[in-house]
């Protein structure tokens, strides 16, 4: 894979350029949807690219109309690194490719850190346990639901 495709589409920025920031702020909208239990991402109306993290402009085509979507939460581990702190248990930091076509950093819980291979099918959960904002974490997906989704 190389750099994102830069080709503009017919519904690109020339025909629909917004001059002011309108609608809800992307990060606020993301957090509100996350708090309500969904795994939110955006979809570009112009080129249908899945967009994450949230933005006000499509990084693939430049269109400014992005629609909020809800992910199935199913995906696969693209890469993983186990961090070994001196004072606490090891934990994995993973990059997950969601089936809808976007990638996010996350972690996999309820599985030993060393047992999270690249390619592992995972399912998203919204973790509201922490003291800060809610976050998306993943657990191992059942083989059946993984196959179903792919």
């Amino acid at each position: 894979m190389t750099a994102p495709d830069r080709e503009a589409t017919a519904t690109g920025p020339a025909s629909h350029h917004e001059t002011a920031l309108t609608g809800s702020a992307p990060h606020r909208e993301y957090l509100d949807r996350l708090a309500a239990g969904s795994v939110p991402f955006q979809t570009c109306d112009g080129c249908l690219t899945a967009v994450f993290p949230p933005r006000v402009i499509c990084p693939a085509c430049g269109a400014t109309e992005l629609r909020w979507s809800e992910s199935s939460g199913l995906g696969a581990v693209y890469s993983t690194s186990v961090i070994t702190p001196r004072d606490t248990d090891p934990y994995p930091v993973v990059l997950v490719d969601l089936d809808e076509g976007f990638r996010m950093m996350s972690t996999v819980v309820e599985t030993p850190a060393a047992d999270v291979p690249i390619g592992m099918r995972v399912r998203a959960h919204v973790d509201r346990e922490g003291s800060s904002d809610p976050r998306v974490v993943f657990t191992a997906a059942e083989a059946a639901e993984g196959e179903e989704a792919s």
Binding site: A3, P4, P53, L95, T107
Partner: protein
């Protein structure tokens, strides 16, 4: 002006490091930058009064060119504070050549300083204004190592690269450092030592990571015409190319392919040269995986074959391709942003002034900078008069 017109239009006429290693808590980044600037200008037979172009980036100093300009008493007519992480200084060289060719300045000073080692743990690091919200911080990656660890894990998964391959990079760097009296880490190092070191963010251990040192550097650039009248042999910029595709590692499209594929293609096109014409490579080895990725992306071996390419001492002293002959960020010095040091070492090797580590007949050298987390990639191709 086409990119080919820039080939050989500007030359490096002076280089210097500041004090390196650990300079103590009473020293400041701008002081090290100024120390290096004075030494590089003296080598060039110039003074601060000759400088009319200033190119500078210092971590945490949003107006670094103003800090350094005031400190040196330089009043530039052209200033560039491009900040693309550790690759900034290779980018500055490209921009300086463009500015000189356009007549915007005549003598460009590229300068950097850092007290990263002395700063650690004493609260000198100020908080900046809020950036974009992070979509990574909640998962507690250890920046920047985890970004590089994720790339290493993916490279191992796709191409069978091993931790022993990564260790070969650290060992080669150390063997070069043992020939450089200015290098910070000069003790013997084996592949077994690297494999036995504590894993911090798998698959990378402490010995897969660059040093944290203090240090600064400076590079003086002027037109080829003026360079001919200055004391040291000019080292010409033959080609330069820049590229960046992401900042956050989770936004990097393919963790095994960096934007160095594009930056190097642009640099080779300008120079009219290819990897087969290159005598040595100075690249930004923040982590051992960098060397493997960049040797692939700069065209010295095929994608996925970097592990074998660096093994068996092939990039070490006596190997087929000298890489990071100063010892690199892994063993020589790494003050936060390493990118000015590849330019300094390549210049010295082309001039034949690298002491015990000097390689014979260096005509063309690549100096490659990396910034962010495999994000910004900037390639420069340097050569002596015979390469023009």
């Amino acid at each position: 002006m086409s990119s080919r017109d820039l080939r050989g239009a500007a030359a490096i006429v002076g280089v210097a490091e500041s004090d390196l290693g650990e300079v103590g808590q009473d020293r400041y980044a701008v002081e090290l930058a100024a120390q290096a600037a004075g030494a590089a200008l003296a080598e060039a037979g110039l003074t601060t009064r000759d400088v009319d172009g200033l190119f500078c980036a210092i971590a945490g100093r949003g107006m670094a060119p103003l800090d350094v300009g005031e400190y040196l008493g330089v009043r530039p007519r052209y200033t560039d504070g491009t900040m693309v992480g550790g690759s900034s200084f290779v980018s500055h060289l490209h921009h300086a050549a463009l500015a000189i060719a356009a007549g915007a300045c005549d003598v460009a000073l590229i300068v950097y300083g850092s007290t990263a080692r002395s700063d650690s743990g004493r609260g000198r690091l100020a908080m900046g204004p809020p950036e974009l919200p992070s979509y990574e911080a909640a998962y507690r990656p250890r920046p920047p190592i985890t970004g590089y660890a994720l790339a290493a894990a993916r490279h191992m998964h796709q191409y069978g690269t091993t931790r022993a391959h990564l260790a070969e990079v650290a060992v080669a760097a150390r063997q070069w450092a043992r020939l450089n009296p200015k290098a910070f880490a000069r003790d013997p190092l084996t592949v077994e030592d690297v494999l036995a070191a504590r894993v911090v963010s798998s698959p990378l251990s402490t010995l897969d990571c660059c040093l944290v040192t203090d240090g600064g550097g400076a590079v003086v650039v002027t037109s080829a015409a003026r360079a001919a009248d200055l004391p040291r042999p000019p080292v010409y910029l033959l080609g330069a190319g820049e590229a960046h595709w992401h900042r956050a590692i989770s936004q990097m499209p393919d963790l095994t392919v960096t934007a160095a594929t594009e930056s190097s293609a642009r640099a080779y096109a300008m120079a009219g040269l290819g990897p087969e014409d290159v005598d040595m490579v100075q690249l930004y080895d923040a982590f051992t995986i960098n060397t493997i990725l960049f040797l692939e992306d700069l065209g010295f071996c095929k994608k996925g074959e970097g592990g074998d390419f660096v093994s068996g001492g092939r990039i070490a002293p006596g190997g087929v391709l000298p890489v990071n002959t100063n010892g690199g960020g892994l063993s020589y010095c790494h003050p936060g942003m390493y990118g000015i040091f590849p330019l300094i070492e390549a210049t010295r090797q082309i001039r034949g002034e690298a002491g015990e580590r000097q390689q014979p007949g260096v005509s063309v050298a690549v100096a490659h900078g990396n910034g962010g987390q495999l994000s910004s990639q900037v390639t420069a191709i340097l050569g002596g008069r015979d390469a023009l």
